[in-house]
């Protein structure tokens, strides 16, 4: 009996080690990402000065006359993210408030999952939609608009990330205790006042997290921009021009025949590091807000 217990105990321990070992994989993944980006970026910065990297206004690593200024890629990334957010944030929050405070339960139960379908569509499909439908439509409204521009993929990306904001913000509004809503109505406030003076402030941390996650999604989005924005690194904030983002530059190099271990090849690691840092900071802010928010309600 005792011997059996001992072997059982050993088996239990072995399984626990095995399971904790599988948890280690995600730690190693993070570590791997940081190491891969850091090592090649370090080698990149031994050849290119970090000051030039952040101040040079041209990004032409694949041309004869090489410039390594990240600013054009950054401006392209931020421009597209800005357009996407200008579409997604007002729409997303408005719909969330409407679904949670105005619409009937039945309407919300149908509309919310239908809108969430938008978030499940593969992004290469949105790229096609931007290039084949939205750009020609915009060209009718804005004469002289180039076939590749920042506006069309930006708008389409906004439609793609909107359901993240709607869904998470609606959840946040729904988790506000009903007593707050009733107290507000009891004081004579109407729906609009209750929604924006009581409910939205009470759910603000959840809404902020949804917005941060959407921004982080937009920064890292690749295929829509690769298909519809034109892959031209330009330091511009004009939405009618073609631009290139960090993500699409990485795709462009991957599809070309850049020799490995060359300086051109290492540019994708330096650019990737900049992108990773952006999203890493945003994700940590949202993680921090979520933790604080949980403590408030428990």
């Amino acid at each position: 009996m005792r011997i059996q217990n001992k072997s059982l105990h050993r088996k239990e321990k072995a399984i626990e080690w095995l399971l904790s070992g599988s948890s280690l994989v995600s730690v190693l993944t993070t570590l791997g990402i940081i190491i891969v980006l850091a090592v090649d970026s370090f080698q990149f910065f031994t050849e290119v000065s970090i000051i030039d990297f952040f101040t040079d206004k041209e990004w032409t690593p694949l041309f004869e006359n090489k410039h390594f200024g990240i600013l054009p890629l950054l401006s392209g990334t931020l421009l597209i993210t800005f357009i996407a957010c200008a579409v997604a944030i007002p729409l997303g929050i408005t719909i969330a408030v409407y679904l949670s405070e105005y619409a009937s339960k039945k309407f919300t139960a149908i509309v919310k999952p239908v809108l969430e379908v938008l978030a499940s569509i593969p992004t290469v499909i949105y790229g096609f939609f931007a290039l084949q439908y939205v750009t020609p439509l915009l060209q009718k409204l804005i004469p002289g608009l180039a076939g590749f521009n920042a506006l069309s993929p930006g708008i389409v990306m906004g439609i793609m990330i909107m359901p993240y904001i709607t869904s998470l913000s609606e959840d946040a509004l729904r988790s506000v205790p009903n007593s707050l809503r009733e107290a507000s109505y009891g004081m004579g406030a109407n729906r609009f006042q209750t929604a924006f003076k009581v409910m939205v402030p009470a759910a603000s941390s959840g809404i902020i997290v949804s917005v941060i996650l959407a921004i982080s999604r937009a920064l890292g989005e690749t295929m829509i921009v690769a298909i519809a924005a034109g892959q031209e690194p330009k330091l511009t904030f004009n939405p009618l021009e073609s631009v290139e983002t960090i993500t699409t530059y990485i795709i462009q190099v991957s599809m070309g025949d850049v020799p490995q271990d060359s300086l051109e090849y290492r540019t994708i690691f330096a650019a990737g590091l900049v992108l990773f840092l952006f999203t890493f900071i945003l994700n940590n802010i949202s993680y921090w807000v979520i933790r604080k928010y949980r403590q408030q309600y428990e």
Binding site: T30, Y98, I125, Q132, T247, Y287
Partner: protein
Amino acid sequence: MSKRSKKNHAKTRDQVFKYFAILCTGFGLLALGILLVDIISKGIGRINWSFFSSLPSRHFNESGIYTALIGTASLLFFTIIIALPIGIGSGIYLQEYGARNRFARFVEINIANLAGVPSVIYGILGLQFFVRMAGLGSSILAGALTLALLIMPIVIVATREALKAVPNSLRDASLGMGATKWQTTRRVVLPAAWGGILTGIILSISRAIGETAPLIVVGALVYVPFVPEGPLDQYTTLPIQIFNWTSRPQQGFMNNAAAGIIVLLAFTFLLNGIAIYLRNRWYNKIKL
């Protein structure tokens, strides 16, 4: 301003917001509708048997998605084999074993972060580790390992949520009968949570099936006129084939892309539908 007009003013704002919000909701639904109609109208004419059974070609009306379908299927097969045991095991550890220790909390922060890393960055990781250092080249296996790391956070989070929903009374009853921790987990908790875990698995497959960017970075080819025969062969996938067709100037290839999109959307919607069905069925069962 009199009290009455102030009240009217508040009422107007309420109404204005209501109609504005209905307009916004309508816009979201309309965008989805237009997207579907536009794609179906462009692509449906190309959907026929030869589209599924043909190799890609320089002539758009002879091109098909045969190699892309085989590539996607083999890629998903290996991705699932790699991601599931590790993802589910990790979820079990975090939820059932390490609930309060420091390592588990550290891993938790890690997973939250990984879920937010852009997919193209996973491509860079895969390129350096699997394609180059492990010497796998641009093979199906290298792509599958990369995608497995990408969907792992989804599997882990879904496993944890499903385990969390299992009532503690079940665990206590099993432990009280003298079962060990692992016996309880394997014979009582996991069967009760299985419906929820399966939902998460299907959602993660639906995510993997549409991924494009990381696969381009790890070297999936855009033009593959042959069928891969083993895990070390080169390959293409359906989204990459679609991407390739959208980058051609001729409208004929655009229609091919639309037809490919119809197939890809059908898979995505089917998987999501199954996931929602399973989740509802499981949720009703576990609540009882």
